[in-house]
Symmetry: C2
Subunit: 350 residues, 2 copies
């Protein structure tokens, strides 16, 4: 029998994280009788949401009447700037190290009822500019600045107001640490950045491309773990960090993000939940622009939904103990996303 | 200020997986307004559950009137025994490999209304014996035999009948692959197994021990990722695989599992959801008993609950993109679990 990747199980390698994924396309046929999520709440936006412009937050502080983005310190940060350091660990089995950092919340918009998909590209452009500002400022002091958006209750997001978080740390966290190493090794061996080479080949193969404009590509990576995972990659100039993006790249990014988020929402006619965020070269005092040619800046979307607005993929037992597993192939996911309307959002149809 | 690990954020190293965990104990103070799970269903057991003795499954097959454990092939397996192999990959960015395997379902008990915590130790002992049988049989052909239980709807478990799954594969999945390497490196350097050394030290420190009997210890690992994660470790004989366990060790394991599961259920007065499973030395044609002294067999419990039966820890944005983060410390979790009644289950109180 001839091997067909959309039919026959196989494992695929993620060269950025040095991990394999089990792909079992035949499993799409299994029936589902497990937990379904709450149908997506289409409740009217809460007029007392503490993140909206002018609202008073839990700690008594009042937000200004902001009109674009608004950044403030997380009231319950996982990382504090000043903490005593643990004593040096000499025992290899009980190692602790200092962790310093800061956590911020960034509102995307004064209005609780919108999401990125429903914002104008100018408004999204303001978000991108503020991301770059934050990276610029926090990157001076911190080794890693993780910008991420948890969207939807199913992703543990405790507030529906459009916002993201920024956690900056004195240490390089696991995922970027491994990605830094893998990209460095590739660069040393091939003299070119892993993701630059990867994108070139994806643009030829065309199988996993979801959307494209002059400056950006949205694709489902060959090694995607989540059913509708996607990656945003810049086509030109090899930016290593968000701060490297030109005016044109920022505007084009706003455009493609609006389209991608619209396609996601239209896939199951719901406000598509996900965690998304940015990975670029590490920052901190030892780093300066252009010093990390092995890196290519990229955005990542990790959405949990599998079959509908209410059935998600559970990364549990086998995935926690052994290896990630997916049912539909990345090529099938890209095809479905390509077929979604990326210009008119389902809420704006008439 | 003096460093206190139950108060001050720090990172801890997991020597088995080569990853760090961010520990932020001060964050236990934050209020929770996000998604809460459905209150645990205490619905009467479904008399038509397809996994119970004598029931007819979706594919029309009828279970025998089994009285102890019962193993059958998964009707919708992620791994099939016979599939064509993908062509050899020469491109480092698009690597696929053959994956063969088999997936089985193992019912723990004929009755849908019980769980491990509510079964007798004799009944649990039968489960352990069957685990060893399955490993023995599947381990002849397969490199890795992952035994795991997904318990609770919140863990994607599609059927409340007490059961686990066994996925055996021709490849060594990511997690055991890294654990094999890390334990081998430690063994080469220290001449003793990592987990044997670790357990010795934990038995002296006593801070993270939850339960103990003559043959087993249940502890919250120093590097635990999930709020109430725990590990089962054998005290004697250095078994490398489930098949190495003696009669005494199996009976003692049944005892400690009943106690641990009872303590978990009593923590929030609910049937505690988790994924649990076993890690031992790899199997397959190239392996034989005693050939992997760097390994120590261990059981792992990954429960998602954080604050109550309805509030779980979400491993999302920061965790997916950067690094796992926990609020309460492993020492605090062990202390809380130690305080839970591990002899009388909340459902049997009067
Ligand atoms: O086979 P089940 O129990 O239906 O499926 C569950 O466990 C599997 C193994 O951990 C996961 O891959 C699935 O996402 C989950 O829903
Ligand atoms: O800060 P939030 O949005 O309340 O918290 C959410 O995102 C954090 C960062 O990914 C996670 O650590 C939490 O588990 C999750 O509930």
């Amino acid at each position: 029998m001839e091997f067909r990747s959309n039919e026959h199980q196989h494992i695929r390698y993620n060269p950025l994280t040095d991990e394999w994924i089990l792909v079992s396309p035949h499993r799409c046929l299994r029936p589902w009788s497990g937990q379904t999520e709450e149908p997506p709440e289409e409740a009217p936006p809460d007029p007392t949401n503490p993140l909206r412009a002018g609202a008073t937050r839990a700690n008594g502080q009042k937000n200004p009447m902001y009109t674009s983005t608004y950044v403030f310190p997380n009231d319950f940060p996982a990382l504090l700037e000043r903490v005593p350091a643990p004593p040096a660990s000499t025992n290899p089995l009980f190692q602790a190290k200092e962790a310093k950092g800061t956590c911020r919340v960034m509102c995307f918009h004064p209005d609780t009822s919108v999401t990125l998909a429903l914002m104008t590209t100018q408004e999204i452009r303001a978000v991108i500019d503020e991301w770059a500002n934050q990276l610029q400022e926090l990157g001076r002091r911190y080794t890693w600045v993780q910008i991420f958006e948890n969207k939807g209750a199913i992703m543990g997001c405790s507030n529906p107001h459009p916002h993201c978080q920024i956690w900056a740390s004195s240490f390089l966290p696991n995922v970027p640490r491994i990605k830094d190493r893998m990209q460095k090794e590739y660069y040393t061996e091939h003299g070119k950045s892993l993701l630059v080479n990867y994108l070139e080949q994806e643009l030829q193969k065309k199988e996993r491309i979801v959307l494209e404009n002059d400056d950006w590509v949205a694709l489902v990576p060959y090694w995607a773990m989540w059913p509708y995972e996607s990656m945003l990659l810049p086509k030109h100039g090899r930016p290593q960090r968000l701060t490297d993006l030109t005016e044109e790249q920022r505007t084009a990014l706003a455009n493609i993000m609006k389209q991608l988020n619209t396609a996601y929402d239209n896939l199951f006619n719901c406000s598509f939940p996900y965690s998304m965020g940015w990975h670029g070269a590490p920052t901190g005092p030892g780093h300066k622009p252009g010093d990390s040619p092995h890196w290519l800046l990229h955005g990542l979307y990790f959405p949990p939904l599998l079959r509908s607005a209410s059935v998600k993929k559970f990364m549990v037992g086998y995935e926690m103990l052994a290896q990630s597993q997916r049912d539909l192939t990345p090529e099938q996911a890209a095809e479905k996303l390509r077929q979604c309307d990326h210009t008119v959002h389902y809420k704006l149809r008439n």
